[in-house]
C-alpha cells in the first residue's frame, strides 16, 4: 500500500478501524479530538458502534461494557481525561478483560495546557487507578510507529486480557507524516470463553471485579501478577541506534527519544561516541536491556519531557553501576535537538561522576538557564 500524508490522530483512528475495531466511545479533549471526530464519521458508515459519551467516566464504562461482551473496543483521551478514566481502568483491570487506550499526553498538572508533554508516564505506567495492576504501555516516536503499534496493542490486550495503551503526546497526535496504513481486516468477534453475550446453550457468565473474600482477591492479584510477569518476559520492545562502542548512551521514549536521535546523529558527526536507546514498551520497562547497556557504557543521559519519571526506572535498572545524567523540559515545553546535543557534549567531555539524584543536578542547571 502506498504511503500517504496523514495526521497522527486520524492515522491512529483509521489504523484501529482497519484492525477490526468494533466500538469506540470517547469524549472531546485536546489534543486528541481528531480521533473522536474521525471515529464519528467512519464508525457509523461502517455499521460499527460509536458514542460520544457525556464524560470520560461514561466513555470508559461504555468501553467496559463492550469489552465484557468480547468486542474489540477502544477509547482515547488526554491527560485530564485519562485522570477521569482511572476508575474504569482499574475495574477493567480487575475484571481481566481487554481494551485499547490511546493516551495523548499534554502539559499538566491540573488543566495545564494543550502542548506536548510526557508528564503522565507515572500515571499510566505505574497503574493510575487503585489496586495492584499494570497496563501494557507502548510509546511510539512517529506517526508510522503509532499506526504499526495499534494492531499490536489490540492483539496483546486480547492475548493477556489486559489494558493496552498507546502512549503519545500532542506532537505525534497532531503532526502530519507519510505513513503506510494496514489493510482493512474484517470485523470478527473472538469467541472468548468469558464474554457476557447471553447464556444460550451454556452456563451463565458473570464478569466482576469484586472479590469480597480476601483470599479470592489475593488469588486474583496473583493471577494478574503472573500474567504481568509473562508480559515482562515476552513482550519487551525497544529501538537501539549507534550503540556500537557508544560511551554515552542517551535514553528517551516517544517524542523525546525521537528528538534525542537528531542530537545523537549531530554528535556522531562531531565524532562523539554516543548512541540512543529508545524503549517502545515503557510498561513493562526494558530493565534488563538497560542493565546490559550500563555494563558497556561509561554514562547514561536520560532525556524526557517531564521531571524525570522514566529516570526512576533507568536508575532501578542501572543500580548505581554507572553515572546517570538527566535532562528534562516540562509543562509542554519540547526540547530542541541543540539542547540535547549540548547535554551530550557536556556529559561526554567530563569524567562522569556518580550523583545521588541526577534530577537534582539537572534542576540546578535549569535554574541557571531559565530565568
Amino acid at each position: 500500500m502506498a504511503r500517504e500524508l496523514w495526521e497522527g490522530n486520524q492515522a491512529i483512528a483509521e489504523a484501529a478501524i482497519r484492525s477490526g475495531l468494533e466500538a469506540y466511545f470517547g469524549y472531546p479533549i485536546t489534543p486528541q479530538n481528531e480521533i473522536l471526530e474521525w471515529m464519528s464519521r467512519r464508525m457509523p458508515e461502517l455499521g460499527r458502534a460509536f458514542v460520544q459519551a457525556e464524560a470520560e467516566l461514561g466513555a470508559i464504562n461504555m468501553v467496559y461494557g463492550a469489552a465484557c461482551a468480547g468486542a474489540r473496543v477502544m477509547t482515547s483521551s488526554s491527560s485530564p481525561g485519562i485522570s477521569l478514566m482511572q476508575e474504569g481502568l482499574s475495574y477493567i483491570a480487575g475484571t481481566e478483560i481487554p481494551m485499547l487506550l490511546i493516551n495523548v499526553m499534554r502539559g499538566g498538572p491540573g488543566l495545564g495546557n494543550i502542548a506536548p508533554s510526557q508528564g503522565d508516564y507515572n500515571q499510566i505506567c505505574k497503574g493510575g487507578g487503585h489496586g495492584d495492576y499494570h497496563p501494557l504501555v507502548l510509546a511510539p516516536a512517529s506517526v508510522q510507529e503509532a499506526v504499526d503499534l495499534v494492531p499490536v496493542a489490540f492483539d496483546l490486550a486480547e492475548k493477556y486480557l489486559t489494558i493496552a495503551c498507546v502512549l503519545l503526546d500532542g506532537s505525534i497526535g497532531q503532526m502530519m507524516e507519510p505513513v503506510e496504513l494496514p489493510p482493512m481486516r474484517e470485523v470478527k468477534r473472538k469467541e472468548f470463553p468469558w464474554a457476557t453475550s447471553g447464556a444460550k446453550d451454556r452456563a451463565r457468565h458473570v464478569l466482576t471485579s469484586i472479590y469480597l473474600e480476601p483470599n479470592d482477591e489475593e488469588k486474583t492479584n496473583l493471577r494478574l501478577l503472573r500474567r504481568w510477569q509473562e508480559i515482562q518476559a515476552k513482550e519487551i520492545r525497544f529501538k537501539e541506534y549507534y550503540l556500537d562502542q557508544a560511551e554515552v548512551v542517551v535514553i528517551g521514549f516517544g517524542t523525546a527519544g525521537r528528538i534525542a536521535l537528531s542530537a545523537v546523529r549531530a554528535a556522531r558527526a562531531q565524532g562523539i561516541q554516543v548512541g540512543l536507546f529508545r524503549p517502545v514498551t515503557v510498561s513493562p520497562f526494558p530493565h534488563e536491556r538497560v542493565a546490559e547497556i550500563a555494563a558497556q557504557a561509561k554514562a547514561l543521559l536520560v532525556v524526557e519531557m517531564n521531571s524525570g519519571q522514566m529516570l526512576e526506572d533507568v536508575r532501578l535498572a542501572v543500580n548505581g553501576r554507572i553515572p546517570i545524567e538527566f535532562y528534562g523540559r516540562l509543562g509542554g515545553v519540547v526540547p530542541f535537538p541543540d539542547e540535547i546535543l549540548s547535554e551530550i557534549q557536556r556529559v561526554s567531555k567530563k569524567t562522569p561522576q556518580m550523583v545521588d539524584d541526577p534530577a537534582k543536578a539537572w534542576l540546578k542547571r535549569m535554574d541557571a538557564a531559565i530565568k
Binding site: 467516566l57 461494557g65 463492550a66 465484557c68 457476557t196 447464556a199
Partner: protein, 259 residues
C-alpha cells in the same frame, strides 16, 4: 406421607430465571420482590438466554448471584454507561440495569441522564428506598425532608442538605426517554402493578422503542429502624405523597404499540 403437588396444579414456583442462591437481603426488604418480578418477566417473555444484567454498587451489588442470566458488575453509578457499551455491540441482546438511589440518583446522575437522553435501548429498574442501604443508612438524594439517617441525624434539613430528587419526573422531561413510570412494592396490588410496568419496560426494549425505567418505591427496614410491616406503611404514608405513583413518560410510539 407428604403429598407432592402434581405439575398441573402448580400455581407458584421459583422462576427459572433465578439461580438457587438463598437471599442475602434483610428480612422485610423489598429487593427480593423486585428481583422476583424481573425473573418472572424474563421467564414469561422467554428472554433469559439473551439477557445481560448490570449490577450496581449498593445492596444489590450481588444481584448477579440471583439471576440465571449473564451479568456484569458496574462501578458505582456507571451501570447505564456499561449497559450502553453492551447494548451497542449486542443490539439483539436484552440489557437491563438494576440500581439503587445512591447509585442512580447520586453518583450516577450523569450516566442515567445521558443514557435516557440518547434514548439508549436499555431497561433500568430503579430501587428508591430513600437511603444508602449497603453502607449503613446514610442520607441519599431521595431521603425525605426531615428524615433521620446516619448522616442526617437531626433529620434532613433542606436548607443545608437540599431537596429530594424525583428521578422519574426529571428523566421524563427528556425527549429521549421512552417509558418512565413509578410504582411501589408496599402491597400485593401495587406489586402486581409494578410487575405489569416491568413487563412493559422489557417489551419496549424488545421492540426497540427506546429507554425505559421503572422506579420502584421500596423498603429498608434495617436502616429505617422499622419492622417490615411498619416499613410498608412508611412507603404508603410517607414516600408516596412525595413520590407519587404514575406514568411520567410514555412516548407516542409506545402508546401506539398498546403494550
Amino acid at each position: 406421607m407428604a403429598t407432592i403437588a402434581v405439575p398441573q396444579n402448580l400455581v407458584y414456583e421459583r422462576p427459572a430465571s433465578f439461580t438457587d442462591a438463598p437471599t442475602h437481603y434483610c428480612p422485610g426488604c423489598t429487593h427480593g420482590v423486585a428481583h422476583r418480578l424481573i425473573a418472572e418477566i424474563l421467564d414469561e417473555m422467554n428472554l433469559t438466554s439473551r439477557t445481560v444484567g448490570v449490577a450496581p454498587v449498593g445492596c444489590a451489588v450481588f444481584a448477579y448471584n440471583y439471576f440465571a442470566t449473564d451479568f456484569v458488575e458496574a462501578p458505582h453509578g456507571r451501570a447505564p454507561a456499561m449497559a450502553t457499551g453492551l447494548k451497542r455491540v449486542m443490539p439483539d441482546s436484552i440489557v437491563f440495569t438494576y440500581q439503587g438511589d445512591g447509585d442512580l440518583a447520586s453518583i450516577g446522575t450523569g450516566e442515567i441522564v445521558h443514557a435516557a437522553a440518547r434514548g439508549e435501548n436499555i431497561t433500568v429498574i430503579f430501587i428508591n428506598n430513600a437511603n444508602f442501604g449497603m453502607t449503613g443508612g446514610q442520607m441519599a438524594p431521595t431521603t425525605l425532608p426531615g428524615m433521620k439517617t446516619t448522616s442526617s441525624p437531626n433529620g434532613r434539613d433542606v436548607e443545608t442538605q437540599g431537596y429530594p430528587i424525583r428521578m422519574a419526573e426529571m428523566l421524563a422531561t427528556l425527549e429521549g426517554s421512552g417509558y418512565i413510570v413509578r410504582r411501589s412494592l408496599h402491597d400485593p396490588k401495587n406489586i402486581r402493578l409494578a410487575k405489569k410496568a416491568i413487563r412493559i419496560a422489557f417489551e419496549v426494549q424488545v421492540r426497540g422503542l427506546g429507554f425505559s425505567m421503572v422506579e420502584l418505591l421500596s423498603t429498608c427496614p434495617s436502616n429505617w429502624n422499622l419492622t417490615p410491616v411498619e416499613s410498608l406503611k412508611f412507603v404508603e404514608e410517607k414516600m408516596i405523597p412525595y413520590y407519587p405513583l404514575g406514568d411520567y413518560k410514555v412516548s407516542p410510539a409506545i402508546s401506539a404499540a398498546k403494550l
